[in-house]
């Protein structure tokens, strides 16, 4: 039973395996019908939890994944998770239903679409139900990847690929930041479980890593939820098929960041930074999104900016809700509205925004354009679509009798309360919050009107449309109509929704304030007396109407905003700059010349070794235990130095080769003097052969041989080579002067005859004590011999060579 709860998360992913087979074998039936069963079943399953969760019960199941690292998939269902799970499966069902009519079964690659969509569903369910930080991150990235695949669904279009890449870069970047925040949380709390972290939250505040984890986690949430300045990927993600936009980019994925903030509020809300960042960024995003929504000419563009703005609204409410942790008697203060309003508006937004996206898709489908400048006069042709669009838009604008009105009132209440909040400097700046919220609401009103009236009213010009417009098939309209019905129903029964869904979620966000969902004393009513909020709403409507009527006169203002200062332009410049700049840097040092690479290596070695010697203060010279200096050796050194110098200054290669030979023979003489007869023998023989080989190589350069020239002197070369020489000398001196352990050779001397039966210690070491070295040294020689043979004998002729490269 318990494991089943974890399994539910993976049902869509498992079902995705079947999709291609169904698509290939059953051609007559649209694949979406089979897929529809998955979210519908899950929605019913999760609905069965509602009654128990509303009473305050929680359900947990665990599936161990990597037990040795304490990593497991934990499904934790409380009010917050259940609310999101129901949104995901419920709207998922409607979106699949809509997509059945939206995507043509002959023209589209349906199996791709539904596999990605089901993958996304699993990822999203995993995000909202995971109680384990690492698996939460795992599902989080899975949402990014499946979203990337869905945005790039029409992969032959440039814009789709660009949008997919952009959203991938931004959300995955934020996801990585979030992973960092999670790891810091684990370091602070010693557990991956969010529930356990919440319990120990009061102890975490003092930890030095606390602020870092807070900021990193918020970066993850803000990038995913399209907050300022990371919202820029969302408008470009509108290249996805409309069901995807409706599902991912309005109802579910963009709310993953909201979920994250809500889920971690009990841990971080004690921090001033959290309250400020979440509230201020949310509010600014609300204003920014609503302001620029009016500028858009693409229906989905308007909706994308409106989503950004509404997400900012929810985010700022969560910030205000976090403020409740700092007020005495929060359960009685106005702050209790904030978290409630956030969750309530989350539901409302999912309903009206989903339906609006679907309508935008219908208009695109039936007229062939989404450009608002070409649209107009569709009201009498598409009456059902118009009704749905009007309901959605007016709810978005915050008008009665739609659910947006209720959440807008509560939002204004919470913002007005912030003005009274006296901690953290809110008494100075707090007055700005309701003003910004109010202005943003006016713009929300304007773009809502803009969306409906520009599309459906005005003059009908049939010649502007690629197709002859007509009402959409009823199947396509079912989903938006259901959502629109919710918009109205919720207005009339807000408290039923509040008690069943919102209050359990609020208890999860503010667990310290309430013991059970039933304790939350909030009653939503459409008529709540002559409050400041109501007057603000009236003001919004009046000014909004005036501004909307005058829109053609001031819309030109947007053109004043220079293109070069936009965030999109900044993003493009950054990406381009990275591309060009990094290319330039690698071209700077990757010259293709081996000498340069050798220069880097030698200077690197010198810097590291000399630096270490210097830092560790390891220079030392000791004459202790050094062998005496004799005349022979001085003479040999003299010869060696001359031989070496000859190789450098020689004009002809032949002289250099002879110089090298003389060095080799001198080394052999050194071996003689230093009591190494075997070495001397070998060195003599091998030097002779080597010189012969050098001469052979030299002799076979007939053309090059004539053009002899002295090596040109180069300063950097000289400096590096002198530095290497100095380094070797210093190391040799230091090493020689700091011997700590005597040699093990005494053992060889004592046992060479008794154990190995030989007198020549070097030879016995080579073949007896350390015979393996010799075995593989022989192997080296044989390989070299074979390779030389192969190099000389095996040659491809030019024909074969040309063929090989093809």
């Amino acid at each position: 039973m318990f494991l089943l709860q974890v399994l539910y998360i993976f049902i869509p992913m498992l079902a995705a395996i079947l999709v291609p087979f169904l698509y290939k074998s059953i051609k007559n039936i649209h694949t979406g019908w089979f897929v529809l069963a998955v979210p519908a079943t899950l929605a019913i399953i999760y609905a069965s939890y509602i009654a128990k969760v509303a009473k305050g019960e929680v359900f947990q199941a665990e599936l161990p994944w990597i037990p040795s690292l304490d990593i497991s998939v934990v499904s934790y269902l409380d009010g917050l998770s259940l609310l999101f799970s129901l949104l995901i499966t419920g709207i998922g069902s409607l979106v699949v239903l809509y997509s059945i009519f939206y995507l043509d079964k002959h023209k589209e690659k349906l199996h791709n679409f539904y596999v990605y969509l089901l993958l996304f569903m699993t990822a999203m369910l995993g995000v909202v139900q995971s109680d384990h930080l690492i698996t939460l991150y795992f599902f989080w990235e899975l949402t990014s990847i499946s979203s990337f695949l869905l945005i790039g669904y029409w992969y032959t279009r440039d814009a789709s690929r660009f949008g997919a890449l952009k959203s991938m870069m931004i959300t995955v970047g934020g996801g990585l930041m979030m992973l960092g925040g999670f790891i810091l949380l684990y370091l602070m709390g010693g557990t991956y479980s969010i529930r356990e972290l919440i319990v120990m939250a009061p102890n975490l505040v003092e930890h030095p890593l606390f602020t870092w984890s807070l900021v990193l986690l918020l970066l993850g949430a803000f990038t995913k939820s399209a907050q300022f300045p990371f919202y820029i990927w969302l408008p470009d993600a509108m290249e996805a098929p409309t069901p995807v936009s409706a599902y991912l980019h309005s109802a579910t994925m963009v709310k993953a960041g909201i979920y994250l903030v809500a889920r971690f509020t009990p841990i971080f809300a004690v921090s001033e930074l959290w309250v400020w960042l979440v509230t201020a960024v949310g509010l600014f995003t609300l204003f920014w999104g609503s302001f620029f929504a009016v500028k858009q000419t693409d229906l989905k563009g308007i909706l994308a900016f409106s989503t950004v703005s509404q997400l900012g609204l929810i985010m700022s409410l969560l910030g205000a809700g976090a403020g409740a942790f700092h007020v005495n008697g929060a359960a009685d203060s106005v702050f209790r509205f904030a978290a409630f309003a956030a969750m309530f508006h989350l539901i409302n937004h999912a309903t009206f925004k989903g339906s609006l996206f679907m309508i935008a898709g219908i208009i695109d489908h039936e007229t062939g354009t989404r450009d608002i400048r070409k649209l107009g006069g569709l009201m009498s042709i598409m009456p059902l679509s118009f009704t749905v669009a009007a309901i959605g838009s007016f709810s978005m604008a915050g008008l009665p009798p739609f659910n947006g009105f209720l959440s807008k009132e509560m939002f204004l209440t919470a913002m007005l309360a912030l003005k009274e909040f006296e901690l953290y400097g809110f008494d100075t700046w707090g007055a700005l919050f309701p003003i910004v919220a109010w202005i943003a609401s006016i713009f929300t009103f304007i773009y809502s009107c803009y969306f409906v009236f520009r599309t459906f009213t005005g003059q009908y010009k049939p010649q502007q449309y690629a197709k002859i417009p007509h009402e959409a098939p009823i199947g396509m309209l079912i989903s938006p109509m259901i959502l629109a019905a919710f918009v109205v129903i919720i207005f009339f029964i807000p408290n039923l929704i509040g008690d069943t869904f919102v209050k359990p979620a609020v208890q999860a966000i503010q667990p310290f304030l309430y013991d059970a969902p039933g304790d939350i004393d909030i009653h939503v009513s459409a008529w709540h007396g002559l409050t400041p909020e109501l007057f603000m709403t009236i003001g919004i409507v009046i000014i909004g109407v005036l501004l909307f009527v005058a829109l053609p006169k001031w819309q030109g203002l947007y053109k004043l905003f220079p293109r070069s200062l936009t965030l999109n332009n900044a993003y493009d410049k950054i990406m381009q700059g990275l591309d060009v700049g990094l290319n330039r840097i690698s071209r700077l040092y990757m010259t293709g010349s081996m000498r340069h690479y050798l220069l880097y290596m030698f200077s690197g070695i010198v810097a590291i070794v000399l630096g270490t010697l210097f830092v560790k203060d390891a220079f030392s010279i000791s004459f202790e235990g050094a062998a005496p200096i004799r005349l022979y050796e001085i003479i040999l050194i003299f010869v060696l130095v001359i031989g070496t110098a000859t190789t450098i200054v020689a004009k002809s290669r032949l002289t250099a080769i002879i110089g090298l030979g003389s060095v080799g023979y001198t080394v052999a003489l050194f071996f003689v003097i230093f009591n190494a007869p075997d070495l001397a023998l070998t060195q003599l023989v091998i030097e002779t052969i080597s010189v012969a080989l050098f001469l052979m190589a030299f002799y076979h350069l007939p053309k090059l041989g004539k053009r002899e020239e002295r090596m040109r002197f180069q300063l950097n070369r000289a400096i590096i080579s002198i530095a290497v020489g100095v380094m070797v000398t210093l190391i040799a001196l230091s090493a020689h002067s700091q011997k700590f352990i005597p040699s093990i050779s005494k053992y060889y001397e004592e046992t060479v005859y008794s154990l190995a039966g030989g007198g020549n210690i070097v030879n016995v070491i080579l073949v007896d004590y350390r015979g393996f070295d010799t075995l593989f040294e022989i192997t080296v020689l044989s390989i070299a011999g074979m390779a030389i043979l192969a190099m000389i004998k095996l040659r491809m002729n030019r024909k074969e060579k040309a063929h090989e490269n093809k």
Binding site: T644, F674, P677, I686, G785
Partner: protein, 113 residues
């Protein structure tokens, strides 16, 4: 003695690096030859240059030169010889194919970029 040898070895390394950084393939291989000479002498010197007799019994001597560095050098000499021989033939073959021994002209082809 070891102190002086340390300077001589440093000089060998210097010359080797200077040659390795040159353009001509043959000089680079000469540089590697000098480098291995330097390394061999370094091993010998670091093992200590004391000891009255070669490491062979029946000499009646009391102290021997350390045999272990000698065994190591013997192995190293043979291996470096194998590698040098291979490189020389490689250089010879590349002259034949490319008609040049100037490595600044050998930059691969751009075909696979």
């Amino acid at each position: 003695m070891e102190i002086i040898m340390a300077f001589v070895i440093g000089f060998l390394f210097m010359a080797a690096v200077y040659l390795i950084l040159s353009k001509s393939l043959l000089r680079i291989i000469i540089g590697t030859g000098l480098l291995s000479h330097g390394a061999h002498l370094l091993i010998l010197t670091m093992g200590g240059l004391g000891g009255e007799a070669p490491p062979v019994l029946n000499e009646g001597a009391k102290t021997f030169a350390d045999p272990l560095p000698q065994a190591l050098i013997l192995t190293a000499i043979v291996i470096s010889f194998g590698v040098t021989a291979f490189f020389l033939v490689l250089a010879y073959r590349s002259y034949q194919e490319l008609q040049t021994d100037d490595i600044s002209l050998m930059r691969g082809s751009d075909e696979y970029e």
